[in-house]
């Protein structure tokens, strides 16, 4: 590409980390469906998650731009997109962990920060210090804290629920272990048990399959399907395209802007994924492979 003299000068003056705002927003011709397409006819308080015109910026660089989204209940939803697309940021913004620059988020019809008690959260595994002096049981009990209120200690009932959740992820034999002595897959299952103990209606999981073995992955997905059967809504940040097709009922395609949101079979197409991932060749070949499998 030929750069004009001015542009060259500009590039010299502004190294890559100082790229101007407008250049950081990918110019994707997005035609996402109307936000309420999948939630038509539902009462406001039955819509697990509704986002309007959400924009988030780090150090004045937009990471998410004008997101409009309304999620129907009882679905297992994957959030996919390239690195730096703002997937984790979207979850953190919904959870009220990041300041937003515009827009609002509603959880079951109420302001997100006021209704977080109905939300369960599985952060990225690396986000906590695993040398922390607590046992597996202690971590799962933390999932009960939200229900306890100030000054109260977890009681027998909370311990029973925590044990049941550990049983579900097959981690009960490790209940008294210090968390540092766990493998990556085991740590992930502890986080999942903690989320189950929260007994929420809407779950956010940030890459729950990162660094876990195939057996753990399939047992986790089994649990997610079980949760969905109980009418819970689960949003999962996911990295792996080929499995995304099989795992999720619906997909959110994200690359700073919302590219598309809909049932997997409608959204998981070559052109939509190409729009999401841009011109990255390695990923595009992966996309092509995944789509080919989808048709076969």
């Amino acid at each position: 590409m030929l750069l004009s003299g001015l542009e060259q000068l500009n590039n010299m003056l502004h190294p890559s980390f100082m790229v101007q705002e407008k250049d950081k927003i990918p110019r994707i011709e997005t035609t996402p469906p109307p936000a309420n397409l999948w939630t038509k006819g539902l009462a406001v308080e039955d819509i697990p998650l509704e986002i309007h015109d959400l924009t988030v910026a780090y150090h004045h660089k937009p990471v998410l731009y004008g997101i409009d989204l309304a999620v129907p209940p009882g679905k297992l939803i994957g959030i996919i997109g390239p690195n730096g697309a703002g997937k984790s940021t979207l979850i953190k913004a919904i959870m009220g962990l990041l300041p937003t620059d515009s827009g609002w988020v509603k959880i079951f019809g109420k302001n997100n920060r006021k209704n977080l008690k109905r939300v369960g959260y599985v952060p990225q595994r690396e986000s906590v210090d695993w040398d922390f002096p607590v046992s597996v049981m202690d971590v799962v009990l933390m999932g009960r804290y939200g229900k306890l209120g100030l000054f109260k200690r977890p009681g027998k009932e909370d311990r029973d629920i925590a044990s049941a959740c550990l049983e579900k992820v097959k981690m009960m034999p490790y209940a008294d272990r210090q968390i540092a002595n766990l493998s990556g897959g085991q740590q992930q299952r502890v986080f999942l048990a903690r989320a189950l103990a929260q007994e929420s209606d809407l779950y956010f999981m940030d890459e729950p399959f990162a660094g876990v073995d195939a057996a753990t992955e399939s047992s986790i997905i089994g649990l997610l399907h079980e949760l969905r059967q109980k009418g819970k809504t689960i949003l999962v940040v996911h990295h792996d395209l080929p499995t995304a097709r099989n795992y999720f009922d619906m997909l959110v395609l994200l690359n700073m802007r919302l590219v598309d949101f809909g049932p997997t079979e409608e959204v998981f197409t070559y052109e939509k994924l190409q729009k999401t991932y841009g011109g990255r060749l390695t990923i595009l070949s992966e996309v092509a492979e995944a789509v080919r499998q989808n048709k076969g």
Partner: protein
């Protein structure tokens, strides 16, 4: 060589402090224990949150807070027509409450300001947290030094006291009295209140402190405001540091914040037991430090920290999970097993 080490007089060093001289050393021990306990309890959370150096920063930047508080209080009392020099250790009777309050507020504001400055530098620029801490506390400490030297006649802060405190003088301080009954020296009473409040707050807010230290994201999702907890903890840390400042000084208070928790974490992986062990460490290091100080006739606070560090080293050697001895034994056992031809018959290296 022998004249460099004082004679170890058992009677004078180990018995007398608890018998004939108890009225002096009893208070020193109690003060030492209260300081170590409060610092150790709060320090546990600093260690867990990887903010050990924030405690360092606060203990230094309390200095300008104290200096400004002195100036403000002086200006206030001067206006009320009395103008004597004020000693940090000896509060002038009659102005005790207003001085105490001014110092307390000054330290609190300095502590919060330190935390805010670190946070702002670290989040708004590319400077990392450790560098932000370095910038903040050195700047504030220097500012305090400048203030004290410029207004030396108005601010009677002794450099010696700032550095290692005056815990040895605690028993000659004015006593706190209820009616005719002399209860305890007032610094001990004050530190006692701070320590018990620290313990109380940690019991009451155990859950909130634990979850917001381990996983701030989860805490926020439960409606526990992790940012608020962070600043509340920093405020309380400033209170502890300024209370301990008088007894052990700015430098030694850092050791007392970190050593108990670090020692406890060598010995256990259960947080409630960590808290109990850090209290035990506080008690042991005050007793040993007191005897060491009598023996060597040296700074009591310094000796308490040396004793605390000694206990840490012992814990390191004998720790069941990460101890030097344990590791050595494990390696020897494994190499024996491997060379002994037992390989393949059982799992090696099982923890």
């Amino acid at each position: 060589m022998s004249e460099m080490i004082p004679a170890l007089d058992w009677q004078a060093i180990f018995v007398a402090p608890w018998t004939t001289d108890f009225s002096i050393y009893g208070w020193i021990f109690l003060m030492g224990f209260l300081v170590c306990a409060a610092c150790g309890l709060a320090g546990n959370y600093l260690i867990l949150r990887r903010m050990a150096l924030v405690g360092d920063a606060i203990s230094h930047s309390v200095l300008p807070g104290l200096a400004i508080a002195f100036l403000a209080a002086n200006a206030w009392t001067n206006r009320q027509a009395s103008g004597e020099g004020i000693d940090l250790a000896v509060e002038p009777s009659g102005h005790g409450i207003s001085y105490g309050f001014a110092i307390f507020m000054g330290a609190l504001i300095a502590g919060v300001l330190t935390t805010l400055m670190i946070e702002i530098i670290h989040t708004r620029t590319r400077i990392k947290q450790d560098a932000a801490i370095g910038i903040t506390f050195s700047t504030l400490f220097a500012f305090g030094v400048v203030l004290i030297s410029v207004y030396a006649d108005k601010v009677d802060l002794d450099a010696d006291c700032v550095l290692h405190g005056e815990i040895a003088f605690v028993s000659i301080q004015p006593f706190f009295t209820i009616g005719a009954y002399q209860l305890a020296p007032s610094p001990v009473i004050r530190m006692g209140c701070v320590t018990f409040l620290t313990l109380g707050l940690m019991v009451v807010f155990y859950k909130e402190l634990l979850v917001s230290s381990f996983d701030p994201g989860l805490a926020s999702s439960m409606g526990i405001n992790a940012t608020f907890v962070h600043y509340a903890l920093m405020c309380w840390l400033s209170v502890i540091v300024v209370s301990a400042f008088e007894a052990v000084g700015a430098i030694l208070v850092i050791a007392m914040l970190i050593l108990p928790g670090a020692t406890a974490s060598m010995l256990t992986t259960r947080f409630p037991i960590v808290l109990v062990l850090s209290l035990l460490h506080a008690a042991a290091s005050s007793v040993l430090g007191l005897h060491l100080a009598i023996w060597l006739n040296s700074s009591t606070a310094g000796c308490m920290v040396v004793a605390g560090a000694g206990i840490f080293c012992v814990a390191w050697v004998f720790s069941p999970s990460q101890g030097i001895l344990q590791n050595w034994l494990k390696r020897r056992r494994n190499s024996k097993r491997l060379t002994g031809g037992e390989i393949g018959t059982e799992t090696v290296g099982e923890s």
